[in-house]
Symmetry: D2
């Protein structure tokens, strides 16, 4: 940590800051320049209450040097994490595509879609049983009935499933049905939910919050990991910006940045970020080319009549065509996408 003193800080003020740092367990190294003094403080700020130092007389600024996350970063683990789900691995050579409808609407709809996406090459089934909707008057999901339908599709297709949990009270219930627990963008800083999911042994799909920095996203992962659950798949799903032409702005740079900062695998959600089926193909290819480990794509057999997010859902035929195109892009960046 670096403490920057004001230009007119007195020697006494500087000494008091040093004393305080020493009290907190830091070793201090003052550097005196022509205009100002800075104090280097060595120690682990993660364990100490240091914010108050910025309020001491003569202090201009406090600059952290160490990353605030430990388990999610590369300090302790330099090699990429590979997450195992059944006989599938995420974060290895293979590009994993998760697909399915936004919401579970009925047994018939879900099973039909499940077989379609499986045949097209998806390796994991997605679907929402608990839906966080911005309007209280919108369809909120089939809840446990939806989980049961997903489980049935899991048994019928042999594919693992991923579904969202939105309430701490439902974590055990959801975990009892699903292979991967999804934490949605709106809950990325629902810290109690993170902690609760960290206590399960299920892999977690952690979506980035709509206005979360990459650092905050990794801190959310740190919450889960601090509970002992290391199996986290990051999912970039678009951030909120001033641009209204798309639902959100896919932060494609987040793929390269997260590969640099963390050992965790990262996938892309081209459906929610763009908000339109028209952009899914372009964003999916971009995601794989950028280095993502997978995709999560919304597919609906009848988007016009979907109960949720129809406009961003691919039809089965568009999904099949896309999967074939993705095989080629995957190979162009030395990854595999076996259909």
């Amino acid at each position: 940590m670096i403490i920057v003193m004001k230009d007119d800080a007195t020697q006494e003020q500087i000494s008091k800051v040093e004393e305080r740092l020493i009290d907190l367990g830091f070793k201090t190294h003052p550097i005196t320049g022509d205009v100002k003094t800075v104090i280097g403080a060595i120690g682990d700020k993660r364990l100490l209450k240091t914010h108050g130092i910025s309020l001491m007389p003569g202090v201009e600024d406090m600059i952290p040097i160490m990353k605030p996350y430990k388990l999610a970063g590369k300090e302790l683990q330099k090699t990429p994490s590979v997450i195992n789900i059944g006989n599938i691995t995420i974060g290895g050579d293979e590009i994993i595509v998760m697909a399915g409808p936004c919401a579970i609407e009925s047994e018939k709809q879900y099973l039909e879609t499940a077989f379609i996406v499986k045949e097209a090459g998806a390796k994991i089934l997605r679907g929402g049983a608990f839906k966080p909707r911005s309007s209280p008057y919108a369809f909120q999901g089939l809840e446990e009935d939806g989980l049961k339908i997903m489980y049935e599709a899991r048994q019928a297709t042999g594919l693992p499933i991923v579904t969202e949990v939105v309430d701490t009270r439902d974590v055990d219930l959801v975990a009892s049905y699903t292979d991967i627990i999804q934490i949605g963008a709106r809950n990325m800083q629902n810290f109690k939910l993170l902690t609760e999911c960290g206590a399960t042994k299920k892999p977690i799909l952690l979506k980035r919050g709509l206005c979360a920095t990459i650092e905050e996203w990794l801190m959310a992962a740190e919450y889960i990991m601090a509970e002992g659950n290391k199996d986290i798949i990051l999912c970039e799903r678009g951030i909120r910006t001033y641009e209204t032409a798309t639902r959100n702005t896919l932060d494609i740079s987040a793929v390269a940045v997260s590969k640099e900062l963390t050992h965790l695998p990262v996938i892309i959600d081209p459906s929610h970020s763009g908000g339109s089926w028209k952009y899914v193909s372009s964003l999916s290819k971009a995601g794989i080319a950028a280095g993502a480990d997978g995709l999560i794509i919304e597919v609906h057999t009848d988007p016009t009549n979907a109960m949720c997010d129809g406009p961003q859902s691919l039809t089965p035929s568009d999904f099949r065509r896309l999967m074939n195109e993705l095989v080629r892009v995957s190979e162009a960046v030395d990854r595999k996408l076996p259909l």
Copy 2:
């Protein structure tokens, strides 16, 4: 609702869209221009699944005309809501200041602060027992012990209290101690928590999410109101923008906009938005001058040693000085702030 057809939409496509709208219960009014056709559709989109129409062949865009919220808006209630908490009212002539430390740290600290802010003119005590922290290694609050201390301060000072709930499982517990339940910015779209709080009879302080639009904020209020709880106090606490000179950007326009769109009272949080005690005075005065109904301000007897948010806390003497200044600003905009 207005359906905009593409320039090259065929008559058959237009007819199919009309048929579909009629099936959904709308009355349709097509308008044919030189370049394109638009279809006016009369009916309440809040009750119908209409998203799919945007996917019908020939459709370019779908534009909603009605506001998506009903209870929070002025359609059903045109006069401002006034919320009663004990013998205090929020949304009336009087400016209400809520004050106290970010977190409850100890009985001694909290009671001392409670009496200080009461004497300075605060009408409601704030304090955090459950703290949503971005790091799992940071102080997370005293939980129920903190609630007990707050309750003790409530009895000792006679002032009502406001504190945050972060987990659906704790709503009843928090409601049993507090006069006002706070829903924090990070939980503004934690819909289960909104619903749970809507089921209590306690007034709700609803902070705006860090990247929530004003419309989404009102939809969050709608969630609570749809459960039967009409006592909602909106709180603007800064939104996330590209500017890093302040912790967040106080959206001062939100005061005037929310006064136009809703009957609910709105207050300002100058502490979290600016992120520094240095800006609290300027932002507080701006908030009242803009028309806000109150403020929620962090005060700490020893900010340098605070366990949470010290840098943005006022000292008791700064708070006293500010309150005296606020009296004058309040009067300048025809409001009262009796100390």
Copy 3:
């Protein structure tokens, strides 16, 4: 255009709005619903001063239906524009890579780099002679001497050149040396500069402003096209968001959106958007996979000693490696990138 009347608008107010619209040359179609009336107005809002209508008594909102750009959109031209520069085409099958240093520093530096990027497969040379720098104390470019060096490199390599103009007074000078005139992000709404560039016959590389919407970007193109110059290459170079891990946030969705809205070719600038050489490879591949028609990449023979933007420049060897990788990604999306 749709005029939305307030719920409590009187019949007289509605009639006055209709009269006004008719005066302005519109045909009107009122639609009366249970709650409110909307008026469809047919005519071209681009030619009329219509803003004032939103101020008429009883009017709640005014919603444009037609796109504000005409020449840049697909209304008049549905097929993609292909821009010819010498024997190169942009917007056709081939992916065009423009490369070179951020700034022209010396004849030796520039010619050496020019031959390196040519050999690696770049088809156009980039370089800055007039540099817009956020600090007045930073290197501002060699100005005309820089243009002369670029021209020399053009003659020596046979490759066309692209360079930025930042002042209306320099447009003719720059146009006399360069094959493509670049309008930088900070000048995207310098309308006089757009108009001046529109009066030349040189193709224009139009970078998107740091906080420009895609619509505003196309309106900037419209400014140029309205002067008779149709040869515009759009360049997405990252937008400003709250995320600080990268210099800007590359809006990869802008590729698909601009392909939908306009016939103009679009390229990606992975250097300025990410702000670090570490992210250039990932973003370049993403750009091509997303459907961009080309890239503009900063290459420096000695980034550590570059006078400008060294941290985001590729070394020659990294650039060569990247070009080989881009060949494969291009082919995977049915494009060609001949080295």
Copy 4:
């Protein structure tokens, strides 16, 4: 400046960075911690090309300590600047209101408005002769004819005038008519225009760019000051955020932040930021209460027929009412606003 080395940086890498810093004229102070080494470098980074250091092997990050602006900051001048325009001062005790229509439309319109705003208490006349418009088909201003009309109003009313320049070629022309030259938001980083205005002796009204940080805004001021012109009035006019309920988001915190970082006066533009006459009153009061030195407000005698920005213009009667209200708010914060 602080150079942060990577955790695994070798001693040789650390030594090379030190050598390089010493070559560039810095004194170095390495600090070795348990996990990593940081190097304190004393010297003035404003004069040196130091970016390249971040590319040296073993370097993780480079953190500047000194502010990048010198003349605009408080390092050399700690007392507030007071700008004199005729017998008016900006930055002193008095709140200065600038008012007038968005665009000069005719002699009659402008003179009428000029007398109205003067009588209501405005001390400076605003008006646009050169209008930067997002559409090439919109009214672009009367240009020199407009300047002549403004000058006539100046002579008739005795009030100084402020008007915008948008082209380096027009700076001398505009300076020959106006008392204050306005640099608009879209040109805040048109560095040639800044430099050209810096060469005049006229005070400059420098609007903040739509997505400019406060630091970039002060660097724009630095460009002007580096040319010898110290008379700069900062103007906060709203920044671009994701919120669409207002045209832009007034960053009210910028008042307090700029008061802390610079000695220059700062005013608020409530018209462009909110984008609606409905919000002008609330934002104006907030601006003064926050500590701004003045306001610039759009007033039109017939907003419904205005050629530009009618929806955000106040009518004469609304302006008069507002001025009376502002007197009270000014006094409440110990400022004067004599009508």
